[in-house]
């Protein structure tokens, strides 16, 4: 225990000595302060319920109306989730954290430094894992301070003492650990901070690409699935109809159904391929969206299903629209697909990936001569 504690204290001192840690913490303070300055103000000139309230920033009222059904608590929670976590902690701060921690293992493994630790009566595996967990301290401390501040601000300002804010701590740390394990592996193999950082960033871009491909491919897949369902319904309806006009349309719709089924199967195949690849990779995006699931009630969000603007999205062709395929239905079903992805699938498979990469890094670390 003395040894593990000493390694943790050392990890903290190492972070403390890095300017990047304090710069990130100050920037976190700036981001969390947005929760202090965002507010809601009544619009006395309003004649409709749509813009009866506007969002204000400090003392200035903006022309942005408060979405229907939302209040200050929802605005603050949304700011925390989408700006604080979604943009700041899992993008900007994560990049700063990766830059700052990329050198941890290469520095630790450099000649003259590693000898001082390895000759102590402590196993190599324990040294490596403690050092790894110590590297996660950077993000753990940042997100803890950030979440605590956000919890207090939202509690005092909106009276909503939401414990789910603290869920951000394990989720953001897990998110970062999926990237940091790659940094640790590359840093252990190459002993180069630059290589470690570049490979980790590339890996992150790869994850982002697969995530985007998943989202992009799910849209035509779901659209075609709904299109096939609607065509099926339409075909039954036409076959059951007594009028001659309907009978004439049956072969046309049958042909459409065959084409739509082929198209659906093709999109399904490609989407399933991407989904399969994603299964073995860490799911950074979905990990963070777990927080959104907890904090943002679907009922609080503006209703997109009846939004007329969506009907004209280019993804829905006139042919599809003719049989009743609506963008809103597609969005709802896509949301359902994402929401039905279980925590076990999202975190479990990601942790399996992390465990595999870490095992490899441990193996290299434990087998190597220094």
């Amino acid at each position: 225990m003395t040894q593990t504690l000493a390694l943790f204290i050392d990890a903290y001192r190492e972070l403390n000595a890095r300017k990047m840690f304090w710069i990130t913490l100050i920037l976190s303070g700036v981001v969390v302060s947005t929760l202090l300055i965002i507010g809601v103000v009544d619009n006395p000139e309003s004649t409709t319920s749509f813009d009866s309230q506007h969002i204000k920033v400090m003392f200035w009222e903006t022309p942005i109306p408060l979405p229907l059904g939302m209040d200050l608590e929802d605005i603050l929670k949304g700011t925390f989730v989408y700006l604080g976590i979604g943009v700041w902690l899992t993008w900007a701060a994560a990049i700063l954290a990766l830059i700052s921690t990329a050198g941890i293992f290469p520095d630790f493994l450099s000649a003259g430094a590693i000898d001082l630790v390895l000759h102590k009566p402590i196993g190599r595996l324990r040294i490596f894992l403690t050092k790894y967990v110590g590297g996660l301290l950077f993000v753990a401390l940042q997100v803890t301070v950030f979440s605590t501040a956000a919890f207090a601000i939202v509690g005092f300002r909106a009276g909503a003492w939401e414990p789910a804010f603290f869920l951000a701590i394990p989720l953001v740390v897990a998110f970062f650990s999926f990237l940091f394990c790659v940094s640790a592996l590359v840093g252990t193999i190459t002993r180069s901070a630059i290589t470690s950082l570049l490979v980790t960033m590339l890996f992150w871009v790869l994850l982002f690409a697969f995530n985007t491909a998943d989202e992009v491919l799910s849209m035509p897949r779901v659209t075609n699935e709904i299109y096939v369902e609607k065509l099926d319904e339409k075909l039954i309806e036409l076959r059951n109809a007594d009028d001659a006009n309907s009978k004439i349309r049956v072969p046309v719709v049958e042909k459409q159904l065959v084409e739509a089924t082929e198209s659906r199967d093709l999109w399904r195949k490609w989407h399933s391929l991407i989904y399969g690849i994603k299964t073995v990779l860490p799911k950074t995006g979905e990990t963070i969206s777990l927080l959104e699931r907890q904090l943002i009630e679907k009922a609080d969000l503006p209703d997109t299903t009846n939004n007329n603007n969506n009907k004209n999205l280019p993804s829905i062709s006139s042919k599809m629209a003719a049989v009743g395929v609506r963008t809103a239905d597609v969005i709802v079903r896509m949301e359902d697909i994402y929401l039905n992805r279980t925590v076990t699938w999202i975190l479990g498979t990601s942790f399996i990936f992390e465990a595999f990469v870490l095992s490899l890094a441990c193996w290299v670390f434990c087998r190597r001569d220094y």
Binding site: T2, Q3, L5, A6, L7, I9, D10, R13, E14, N16, A17, S110, A111, G112, A113, I114, D115, L116, V117, L118, H119, K120, P121, I122, G123, R367, D369, Y370
Partner: protein, 332 residues
């Protein structure tokens, strides 16, 4: 001081290290270090000294290693709690102060907190760094780093202290201080294992030495034993080589440039010198000096690292398996 029953603090057998299947860094090393002595490991660059030390310290994994350290098999981690080690070119975390460095590495050696605090203060005092203890390592000179390094190696009150080039970058005053510390450690019954290039330093403190050449132990023992064959009397006289030199069995003569001759008697027995002096006096030969001479550690080292066949120093570095195969081919 020694809690193990072994006769030796370090007793190595058949230690082999082959790097990536190509470079044979160590070849069947046999080495013994007695409890309570200062032992010096010498050798040219790349001879395998640091590899051997790193194997003992579990920093490098041996290809094969038998033997014990403090009575436990080589690589036995808990035993390392009783060992202090200062690696060559060590690099302390530069965000720590000297005191924090000592306490951190002591904690890794399982030293409890109150003891760490107490020892850090006393060891900083011992190595003359008490005024710098609370300053960051990044502000230290190389000599200061060495001093803190020595203190670090002593933080767990070890039974065995292994120091790799401890006086590297240290000024003469610092070297003397370090020498004094080593002698003090020896007086306390601790075993000191020194790896150094500074032969004169080693000669002053070491009880026994081993010379490693191309991954093999060329020779080991006390300095007196190792230089016993070279012990002699040298008599410097004026003029040519006397004609009666061959009458004395162990005597030979070497001419010098300034019309002088050195008579060399291959014995340390003072009684055997007397008849030669009488003979010289009887022939009115001027005697400039008579002194017992012994090979220095440097002479011994040079002899060990020189190929007797060619008279040249062995190539630096460890023996590669390719070179070994070539030699074997030549032999056959």
């Amino acid at each position: 001081m020694t809690s193990d029953n072994g006769k030796y603090a370090i007793d190595l057998h058949e230690v082999d290290k082959v790097y990536k299947g190509k470079v044979h860094a160590l070849c069947s090393i046999e080495m013994k270090v007695h409890h309570g002595e200062i032992f010096g490991l010498l050798g040219p660059n790349g001879a395998g000294k640091s590899t051997l030390v790193k194997i003992m310290m579990t920093v490098v994994r041996p290809t094969k290693a038998k033997g014990t350290m403090l009575g436990q098999p080589i690589g036995h981690k808990p035993t390392l709690a009783r060992v202090g080690y200062l690696p060559e070119h060590h690099r302390f975390p530069n965000y720590l102060t000297g005191r924090q460095t000592l306490e951190f590495f002591a904690a890794l050696a399982k030293v409890d907190r109150p003891t760490r605090k107490k020892r850090a203060a006393s060891l900083l005092e011992l190595v003359g760094m008490s005024e710098w203890g609370n300053k960051k390592i990044s502000s230290y000179s190389k000599g200061m780093m060495q001093r803190v390094g020595i203190a670090q190696a002593l933080m767990n009150d070890p039974d065995l202290i292994v120091l790799d080039e401890p006086t590297d970058g240290v000024d003469p005053v610092g070297r003397r201080d370090i020498r004094d510390v080593l002698i003090k450690m020896k007086d306390q019954g601790k075993t000191v294992f020194l790896n150094s290039h500074l032969l004169s330093e080693l000669e002053m403190v070491c009880d026994r030495v081993a010379i490693l050449v191309q991954g093999k132990v060329a020779t080991q023992g006390t300095i007196d034993d190792l230089t016993a064959d070279s012990q002699r009397y040298e008599i410097v006289i004026d003029g040519q080589e006397p004609s009666w030199v061959n009458e004395f069995g162990d005597l030979r003569a070497e001419s010098r440039a300034n019309h002088q001759t050195v008579l060399i008697l291959g014995s340390t027995d003072a009684g055997k010198v007397q008849p030669i002096i009488d003979r010289l006096r009887s022939t009115q030969t001027t005697i400039h000096s008579i002194k017992p001479v012994r090979e220095s550690l440097e002479d011994l080292f040079m002899r060990a690292v020189t190929d007797p066949a060619t008279g040249k120093a062995y190539q630096p570095g460890a023996a590669s398996t390719k070179r070994k195969k070539k030699r074997a081919g030549e032999g056959s």
